[in-house]
């Protein structure tokens, strides 16, 4: 059974979705990701959807769910690389992915996570 690879980069996890999502795959991804966040103590999750030409309400909901799960585990989720046509379609569908951070590409998403991390660490206690 195919899985979506989850790569660790520093304190973040990188998920690049490049195949059509279906129910089972989405569930597996949620499973794998939550385990990996706990195992690696990751602070951020980057989901790259730049190769997706079609994002329907199912994937939209999946992204919102993943973001919510990651938040519970104290990791920030950033969805990166959404295409203009996909963004317009999602808005027309009434899905604006509230609660999910977004960035134009992986690089900017990475910066978003590290910036947020820094400001949090500055305010709080050193581990």
């Amino acid at each position: 059974m195919d899985r979506i690879p989850i790569l660790k980069m520093g304190h973040s996890l990188l998920v690049s979705i490049q195949v059509d999502m279906h129910d089972r795959l989405a569930l597996t991804l949620q499973d794998d990701l939550t385990q990996k966040i706990v195992a690696t103590r990751a602070r951020g999750v980057l989901i790259d959807i730049s190769s997706l030409e079609v994002v329907d309400s199912f994937i939209g909901r999946m992204l919102v769910n993943i973001a919510a799960m990651a938040r519970v585990l104290d990791a920030k989720t950033v969805v990166v690389g959404m295409r203009p046509a996909v963004a317009i379609t999602l808005v027309e569908l009434g899905l604006s992915l509230t609660g999910v951070r977004t960035a134009l590409n992986v690089e900017l998403g990475m910066r978003l996570i590290s910036d947020a991390d820094k400001s949090e660490q500055g305010a709080g206690h050193e581990p």
Partner: protein, 301 residues
């Protein structure tokens, strides 16, 4: 083959061509001279061509079959003429007058020719009258079609022209909206904005609605859609240029703009955008001259 009626008309046209043309020209010039939109020589050429083509068409085809192939040449000529007159700004009546103004000179000849034969006179007059009326209507139709084409082309141009996305600074885009914001425009605006976000990698976009005449719930919804789409691409939006009346309208309509940063002027929005990007504006030296136009608030950031 031409019937007797057509033959009569052809004969009449051939015999009095020069005279008809002269009288017709006088008639036309009296009508058009005031507007000075057409040269006399050009008009003479056109009129001459019309008479020649009319005679040719009559020789070939039936007088009541104007949609047929025999009349194609003449139809073509009239269409060209009509289009060129429409382009020059002549009115519909001025355009159609080209054909109608020939009536007097032709009818004068007809009357002279068949003064004693009332039946013949009536039938020839009727035939020519109907013919010319149909030409006139045809010209009007072409004229209108030309105008409609101009309108639809202008609409298209306006749609493209009115949605420029400008880069104010590295990573800061501005979208000055002018005119009304309907669904079609929103689509174009959204597409061009998102495209520019991809191209420039901008993180902040300022939507300036100073030029938007009215903001109702539908326009507000379109704006919010654009903001949401830009956010999905990882860019934050600031809406600026909200006039006092529009602020009141928005509140009275109960439109929720809580999640969007709104500013009164584009300058304010730009200031916020610069701060977000970690940039600022600094005065390098004391301004020269007495009329200082640089606003103090920009300096404060």
């Amino acid at each position: 083959m031409p019937d007797t009626l057509s033959k009569d008309v052809i004969e009449l046209l051939r015999r009095h061509e020069a005279a008809i043309l002269d009288e017709w020209m006088r008639e036309q010039m009296a009508d058009v001279r005031r507007s000075r939109l057409i040269e006399e020589t050009e008009m003479r050429t056109q009129s001459k061509e019309f008479l020649v083509l009319l005679r040719k068409a009559l020789e070939r085809g039936a007088i009541d079959d104007l949609d047929g192939r025999d009349w194609e040449e003449l139809r073509h000529m009239l269409a060209d003429l009509s289009a060129s007159r429409a382009k020059r700004g002549l009115t519909t009546s001025q355009t159609a007058a080209f054909v109608f103004s020939i009536k007097r000179s032709i009818f004068d000849r007809v009357r002279q020719q068949w003064a004693g034969d009332a039946e013949r006179l009536t039938s020839v007059t009727w035939a020519i009258d109907t013919l010319l009326d149909r030409f006139g209507l045809y010209m009007t139709e072409v004229y209108q079609k030309g105008r409609e084409e101009v309108i639809s082309r202008q609409q298209q141009e306006m749609l493209e022209l009115s949605t420029p996305v400008v880069e104010l600074w590295e990573g800061i885009l501005a979208l000055p909206l002018i005119g009304t914001l309907d669904s079609a425009r929103t689509q174009v605006v959204m597409e061009s904005l998102l495209q520019r976000i991809v191209e420039t990698g901008a993180a902040i976009a300022i939507i300036d609605i100073t030029g938007v005449a009215t903001v109702d719930t539908l326009v507000a919804q379109h704006l919010l859609k654009t903001v949401a789409a830009a956010r999905l691409m990882g860019a934050d939006c600031i809406i600026s240029g909200i006039r006092p009346q529009i602020a009141q309208t928005i509140v009275h309509l109960g439109v929720d703009l809580q999640d969007v940063i709104t500013k009164a002027t584009l300058a304010d929005a730009f200031g916020i955008a610069l701060t977000r990007a970690g940039l600022g504006v600094r005065r390098l030296s004391a301004p020269t001259g007495t009329s200082v136009r640089a606003p103090g608030r920009t300096e404060a950031r």
